[in-house]
């Protein structure tokens, strides 16, 4: 064989492929519902072969996340026109101003947020504890986004600890705390696959609770929950001196709860009557290296969560509802939920949903209406708190080898935005903040990558950048409130 013969073979192959691209149907050939054959069209072959992915260089280039996670020295510029959240050790003010994507308020009504800022500012002097609940879908799993915002808020306004956590997490759970469960604990959720045999809909603030069957107890190894500070968490999450358990006991019968610091018994409680809802707290001088709660008796507890906080300051809770579209609050017992919110002194709720409906939603007006219903339920429970709704991130589908934004994404975003604004809630547009149309591929293909190759989820690096933008947006409003004379 001579090289020109190989060249002839090569050219023949190219011509054959070229001819195929001319005759192959543009929409492909459908073989079955799941399989259709596709091929490049003539247009695609001769045009540039990359979709116009969003330019995110300014967004990621200006992020200070990689340089220093622990630094937050926000200052305020006195001139209102130059108002921007500035971290003095990061980029210049102009660059940060460019990446601060602002929160939208209904008719510019910021009363609830201003009240929240006022409470936030007084936590240090009043030695009070206030919670921020960060609900979301899988985008916030394993403390993504929440961890960064919590750390920054706690450093600025006081407070520490990982916040409210489930007694038994989904798999190994979070990075912000080391926890172990002993015994046959089972997790019941008010979203996803709901166990209809439980006969009630009390799920608490985490929209899930954990329990065990007392008949299956092994007396040599009683059901217990253990907590140790994480060695990989943000520094503030490793410190806590107040631990509370939120629980109920649906049936009568004896239930004993023993609390241990390391291996020393520090408290023993006994209950005979049924308990609809209760909060039990323990205070410590310093963070216990190991804290455990042991359960014994014939009655079954339902544990709604355990909070590990400082006695005052900000507590922020990461509450991922995997697979959820955020339509859960109207389906669970709001009486008990309201009581738990009051107990926890909730000052703000963040709702970050939408991603799970993007691939399937057809009726956007319907989604808008049912999302509005959820917001109404939350507002009816706590009318004065700040509610921030965060829209979905960009998500891509692959079409003929190129990644493009889901055609329905902006419609879902608009439905959530409309529902929020109509309900008197604030809205933060994560999709626009990350670069808008076709920005997800830019996050996936960034070096290092900032999102996972499912083109839906941010990875931990990307989540930190996104969390920083969200934090900046919130602090921008706080600074504005300060400058306007509180």
């Amino acid at each position: 064989m001579k090289p020109y013969q190989i060249l002839v073979f090569f050219i023949t192959t190219v011509i054959a492929l070229f001819t195929l691209s001319l005759v192959f149907p543009e929409d492909g050939v459908k073989i079955s519902d799941e399989l259709s054959l596709k091929f490049l069209t003539f247009d695609q072959l001769i045009k540039s072969d990359s979709a116009a992915y969003a330019d995110i260089s300014e967004i990621i280039g200006n992020s200070g996340v990689e340089e220093e996670l622990e630094i937050d020295t926000l200052t305020i510029i006195s001139d209102l026109t130059e108002l921007v959240a500035i971290d003095t050790l990061r980029a210049d003010a102009d660059s940060l101003k460019r990446i601060t994507h602002l929160i939208e308020f209904p008719a510019n009504d910021k009363r609830n947020f201003n009240q929240f800022f006022s409470n936030l500012e007084s936590l240090r002097s009043k030695k009070e504890l206030m919670r921020i609940l960060h609900y979301g879908d899988s985008q916030i799993e394993t403390d993504r986004m929440t961890g960064f915002i919590r750390n920054n808020l706690q450093k600025r306004f006081g407070g520490s600890g990982p916040g409210l956590i489930p007694p038994v997490p989904l798999y190994s759970g979070k990075m912000s705390i080391r926890q172990e469960s002993i015994g046959q604990w089972k997790r019941y959720t008010g979203f996803g696959k709901i166990d209809t045999t439980i006969g009630h809909n009390r799920y608490g603030a985490l929209i899930s609770y954990c329990s065990y069957d007392p008949l299956e107890i092994d007396v040599k190894s009683l059901p217990a929950l253990e907590f140790r500070p994480s060695t990989i968490a943000y520094s503030t999450a490793r410190i806590y001196n107040t631990i509370s358990v939120y629980l109920s006991k649906p049936d009568t019968g004896y239930l004993s709860i023993k609390a241990f610091e390391e291996d020393s018994l520090i408290d023993k409680l006994g209950f005979e009557e049924s308990i609809k809802y209760n909060k039990i707290s323990w205070n410590f001088v310093q963070t216990p290296k190991k804290f455990s709660i042991e359960f014994e008796g014939k009655a079954r507890p339902e544990i709604y969560g355990i909070s590990l906080d400082n006695s005052w300051g900000v507590a922020m809770d990461n509450i991922p509802l995997r697979g959820s579209a955020g339509l859960v609050f109207s389906k669970i017992d709001t009486m008990q939920l309201r009581q738990m919110y009051e107990d926890m002194n909730v000052g703000m709720i963040i709702l970050q949903f939408g991603g799970n409906v993007v691939p399937y939603m057809k009726n956007f007006k319907h989604y808008e209406n049912i999302f509005k219903r959820e917001l109404k339920v939350i507002k009816s429970m706590c009318p004065d708190i700040a509610i921030l709704v965060v829209g979905p991130s960009d998500m891509s589908i692959r079409e003929k080898g190129q990644y493009i934004t889901y055609p329905s994404l902006e419609k879902v975003r608009n439905a959530i935005r409309n529902a929020s604004i109509d309900s008197g809630c604030a809205f933060w547009d994560m999709y626009e903040a990350m670069g808008g149309n076709n920005s997800m591929p830019s996050w996936v293909f960034a070096e290092p990558p900032l999102a996972i190759s499912d083109f839906v989820h941010l990875n931990s690096k990307g989540a930190k950048i996104m969390a920083e933008m969200m934090y900046n947006a919130l602090i921008y409003e706080y600074n504005l409130w300060v400058l306007e004379g509180r």
Binding site: M1, K2, P3, Y4, Q5, I6, L7, F9, F10, I11, T12, T13, V14, A16, L17, L20, L37, K38, F39, L40, D49, S50, S138, E141, T142, L170, Y171, S172, G173, K174, M175, T189, F191, G192, K193, I232, L321, R322, G323, P359, S396, I397, R398, E399, K400, G401, F445, I452, S453, D454, F455, V456, H457, N459, S460
Partner: protein, 504 residues
């Protein structure tokens, strides 16, 4: 005009990878010119050298200057080495080549690793400073970022090739290349520049002075390798990575232990398909141009021991490490203890060669331990000499699983991520989810099954269908080629498997 301009400028988003259309346009142009000039050896070598430099420019931008620098230094040090009469002078020349090449490799590949390690160990706060960029900025007025040291593509390969050249001249295994263009061609030959195989001067240089010669069977073999490589890389490797592996390794804590383990086994196949697929294509393309590159993979998961695995996996690297690191360290000639130390050092450094992080060192270390354990075990094993097929099957099974286990550190982006993986497997295996996971990701599991089954097919059977293709008439080859490209396109353009939740 823009398209014409695009051909010549460096665009980091459009590197000349074998899996990109740009590469095949590039190759078509190269082949066209080559078809005219190939009989004239000097012109052929010169043309392929400049084509390779252009390829490197398109892949790595201005780093092609580094390749030219490495070529000039390597060539003259080699020449000096050969002409020197005294042993000491020869040693100085060879040391010079090693220092320059390892210096380049260390500077561009390991600066961040060393800085971070020092900062972690001594609680310092050093930052990487690109003094080459600073020097260029002050001399030429360029505007390179001095806070960043980029990694030139293929630097691990071309520096190792240049070192082997210097050592082979020193050991009088090879004579220096006749002129600098030929040497540049050897160092930068574009098919193997980015991902190997690492070619020895003794194997490659003599080919520079031979006439073009390619039989019809060799053409068929080259085409088979290219198509086989594309299927491995694009149909299997890329599909598994995008639709399953990447998302699980990005956040192991969000998935059950079963999903994590499945991702690990999928990765074991992916890394083989990616790497061997790429070198298959490289060998095929080189053969089209009349150059024979060494075989780099030999069904590595058929290995029946860790030692045997390393004789089948990335063969050109294993033999390089043996000849230029393990043996110079003393090999097995200095007693039991030193042999073991040499082996571990070779594996640890081999691990570090694959990537500048402690995960790769751990990966190399575990492989080294595997080699040592097997070395002693085979002395007492009652089954070592057994030829029973069940014994062989067990050994292959054990080796494959051990190698797959080591991949945890090869794939994880941090030790923390590897620990998360292990924690999920240990604490949350959740086997009850297995049927649901397999059913929901059935395409992923089918492709995985297909990949492993084909890998473990008997060599005789594989040879028979390869030989059928090699000897098939040209029109059959053309039809098979078109069908394979069409199938690869289906996989490349397939919808992303959506994110599926199994636990709430």
């Amino acid at each position: 005009m823009n398209n014409l301009y695009d051909i010549f400028i460096f665009n980091p988003e459009k590197p000349l990878l074998f899996t990109q259309m740009y590469f095949w346009i590039f190759f078509g142009i190269i082949l066209s010119i080559y078809s005219i000039i190939y009989p004239a050896k000097a012109a052929r070598n010169g043309f392929l050298f400049f084509a390779s430099l252009f390829f490197y420019w398109k892949t790595s931008g201005l780093f092609f200057l580094l390749l030219i620098f490495s070529t000039i230094v390597g060539y003259f040090l080699g020449l000096g080495n050969y002409r020197a009469k005294k042993k000491l002078v020869k040693k100085l020349f060879v040391a010079g080549s090693i220092i320059v090449n390892l210096g380049l490799l260390s500077y561009f590949k390991y600066s961040y690793f060393v800085t971070e390690t020092i900062n972690n160990w001594f609680r310092t706060d050093f930052e990487v400073f690109n003094f080459l960029a600073a020097m260029s900025n002050s001399i030429t007025g360029s505007k390179f970022d001095v806070a960043v040291i980029g990694l030139p593509v293929g630097i691990s390969f071309f520096t190792f090739q240049t070192i082997s050249y210097a050592l082979d001249i020193y050991r009088e295994k090879v004579k220096p290349v006749r002129n600098i263009i030929d040497f540049g061609f050897y160092v930068s030959f574009f098919p193997q520049l980015v991902a190997g195989p690492i070619v020895r001067a003794s194997e490659f240089v003599p080919q520079l002075y031979k006439r073009y010669n390619l039989s019809y069977e060799e053409f068929g073999y080259a085409l088979f390798l290219i198509l086989n490589g594309l299927v491995k890389k694009m149909f299997i490797g890329d599909y598994l990575a995008v639709n399953f592996i990447d998302r699980i390794f990005a956040n192991p804590l969000s998935y059950s232990g079963f999903e994590n383990i499945s991702a690990l086994y999928a990765y074991s196949l992916q890394v083989y398909c990616d790497f061997s697929g790429y070198t298959d294509i490289a060998i095929g393309i080189a053969l089209f141009l009349g150059f024979r590159l060494p075989k780099n993979f030999n069904s590595p998961y058929k290995a029946d021991s860790v030692g045997n695995f390393w004789k089948r996996w990335h063969i050109s690297l294993s033999s390089w490490l043996k000849d230029y690191l393990y043996i110079p360290l003393g090999g097995n000639k200095k007693g039991q203890f030193r042999t073991n130390v040499n082996l571990m050092l070779t594996m640890l450094l081999g691990g570090l060669w694959h990537g500048a992080s402690w995960e790769f060192v751990i990966w190399g270390g575990i492989n080294g331990l595997g080699l040592l354990v097997y070395k002693y075990w085979k002395r007492i094993s009652p089954y070592e000499n057994s030829t029973h097929w069940l014994t062989h099957l067990w050994k292959v099974f054990l080796t494959f699983n051990f190698i797959t286990f080591t991949r945890i550190w090869f794939r994880s982006e941090s030790i923390q991520q590897a620990n998360q993986f292990l924690s999920q497997v240990w604490n949350s295996l959740d086997l009850s989810l297995a049927p649901e996971v397999i059913f929901s990701y059935y395409k992923v599991f089918l492709i995985m099954l297909l990949g492993y089954v084909v890998h473990w097919l008997p060599s005789g059977f594989k040879n028979s269908y390869r030989n059928w293709f090699i000897n098939a008439p040209i029109w059959v080859k053309l039809i098979v080629t078109l069908i394979i490209i069409f199938v690869i396109y289906q996989s490349w353009s397939a919808d992303i498997v959506p994110f599926i939740y199994f636990q709430f």
